[in-house]
């Protein structure tokens, strides 16, 4: 899965295929990385931590 961390906006994105405005398509790990997107077999720990933080934020708001 490709992962991308938008640090400025505290966001993570993920997907198997990403299509860019310049026509480039990255898919299933080919290429390994492009424009901040990185193909990883397992989700990075920072991404998992971010998900947990999101859940906690949601719990405090509901």
């Amino acid at each position: 899965m490709y992962y991308k961390n938008d640090i400025e906006n505290n966001m993570w994105y993920k997907g198997r295929e990403v299509r860019f405005p310049n026509g480039i398509i990255i898919k299933d790990g080919n290429p390994q990385s492009y424009d901040g997107w990185e193909w990883l077999e397992e989700p990075p720990q920072e991404y998992l931590d971010w998900l947990i933080r999101l859940e906690l934020e949601e719990e405090t708001q509901t």
């Binding site: 994105y13 993920k14 997907g15 198997r16 990403v18 299509r19 860019f20 405005p21 708001q61 509901t62």
Partner: protein
């Protein structure tokens, strides 16, 4: 009697129970008056406390003499001493009726839900009104007009409010069997609190200024039109509402930093919002948890900059139109067909900088035309 009724073809549905006393009729828009049909039960503690401003004339309706109000006062009705017919409530309990009248109050506060520890009237005590009529006398006010606050209104079936230039916060919470709600000749209600209230028939909402979580757990089938001419507060306008459809939402100028945050968050039963016409720049968590929501359309989306978790925990979205959108939105795990996705892409404006759209796991993900979106500068995650 009353709220357990079966609609019969050719009738108008729910009817005011014939045994109820008629409220006085007011035809003067400048008159300030509260009339309330109060049920006095044989087996209940029938207490009413009023705390109002000004020096209105108060009539408890039980044969005691009307008096000029001077300070907060509690009335405890004596069932045995009230004249008039004995009626039976739907559960078989006996009750009698009185009509409470509060005439010529002023705009600096009106509270008929005040607590009174001396008489054990606490914040959760019920209020026995079944029918309420208010004429606000074309007053302008920022003060609260409190029918119940957190107290319950288990018998209230009719609420009519008329003749106001601007009200303060109108609190009508915890009414469980409201049948008819009417606002006539009301230019603006600052806040209409309907928290935990159930309204059995749709009604025309008056123009509203502020609505922070004001409709939490409101149960109503549909809302025809919700208008906020000048938004003073708007965090969670329809949060937690139990409503099938909102036909339109319109907002004018925005004076609140909250904007569309938590707009319809966790409105699990909401299927459709007809058309949104608002200048909100944020829908942070706006539709989070609306798992039955199918259709959304804006008049103009170009001013929106914050879509954080906007469609988290949705799933049923089949139509999305965001004209002029310039930001990336995540609508993964929804129900958009290829045609619906293409229509959404077509409605988008040009992306502002690097913007990412996520359409993963929609029925049309594999076959939609993502070049419509990439051609406008978006990166698309499929």
């Amino acid at each position: 009697m009353s709220h357990y009724y079966i609609p019969i073809a050719g009738t108008t549905g729910w009817q005011r129970p014939s045994e109820w006393l008629d409220l006085p009729v007011n035809t003067d828009e400048n008159k300030k008056v509260f009339y309330g049909l109060f049920l006095v039960f044989e087996d209940e503690f029938n207490a009413l406390r009023i705390s109002v401003r000004g020096t209105p004339t108060v009539d408890w309706g039980d044969g005691t003499s009307p008096f000029t109000y001077s300070a907060a006062i509690t009335k405890i009705y004596d069932y045995d001493s009230i004249t008039g017919a004995v009626n039976q409530y739907y559960d078989g309990r006996n009750y009698k009726q009185v009509i409470v009248s509060i005439d010529n109050f002023n705009s600096n506060g009106f509270d008929i839900a005040a607590t009174d520890s001396t008489n054990n009237i606490n914040t959760n005590s019920s209020l026995n009104f079944a029918d309420i009529y208010v004429s606000y006398g074309m007053m302008t006010s920022n003060s609260n007009f409190t029918i119940n606050n957190s107290r319950t209104l288990p018998y209230l079936e009719i609420f009519k409010f008329e003749n106001a230039t601007r009200t303060g916060a109108l609190r009508l919470n915890n009414a469980s069997i409201l049948q008819i709600v009417e606002f006539n000749n009301v230019d603006l209600v600052r806040v209409l609190n309907l928290v935990n209230t159930k309204i059995n028939q749709p009604f025309d909402f008056p123009p509203i200024a502020a609505s922070n979580n004001a409709n939490q757990n409101l149960i109503i089938d549909s809302i025809d039109s919700y208008v906020m001419p000048n938004v003073e507060a708007s965090d969670g306008i329809f949060r937690d509402i139990k409503c099938r459809k909102i036909n339109s939402f319109t907002a004018g100028s925005v004076g609140s930093s909250f904007q569309g945050r938590n707009f319809v968050r966790n409105a699990y039963y909401l299927e459709e919002i007809g058309l949104i016409d608002s200048p909100f720049t944020s829908y942070d968590n706006g539709f989070n948890g609306c798992s039955m929501l199918r259709s959304l359309e804006w008049v103009d989306f170009s001013m929106v900059t914050n879509v954080n978790n906007m469609f988290s925990n949705t799933g049923n979205l089949r139509k999305l139109i965001t004209p002029g959108c310039t930001v990336g939105i995540d609508i993964s795990d929804n129900s958009m067909t290829a045609d619906a996705l293409d229509a959404w892409f077509t409605s988008l404006g040009t992306a502002t900088g690097a913007q990412i759209i996520t359409i993963t796991d929609n029925p049309g993900t594999a076959t939609c035309d993502t070049t419509i979106a990439t051609g406008k500068g978006y990166t698309v995650v499929v």
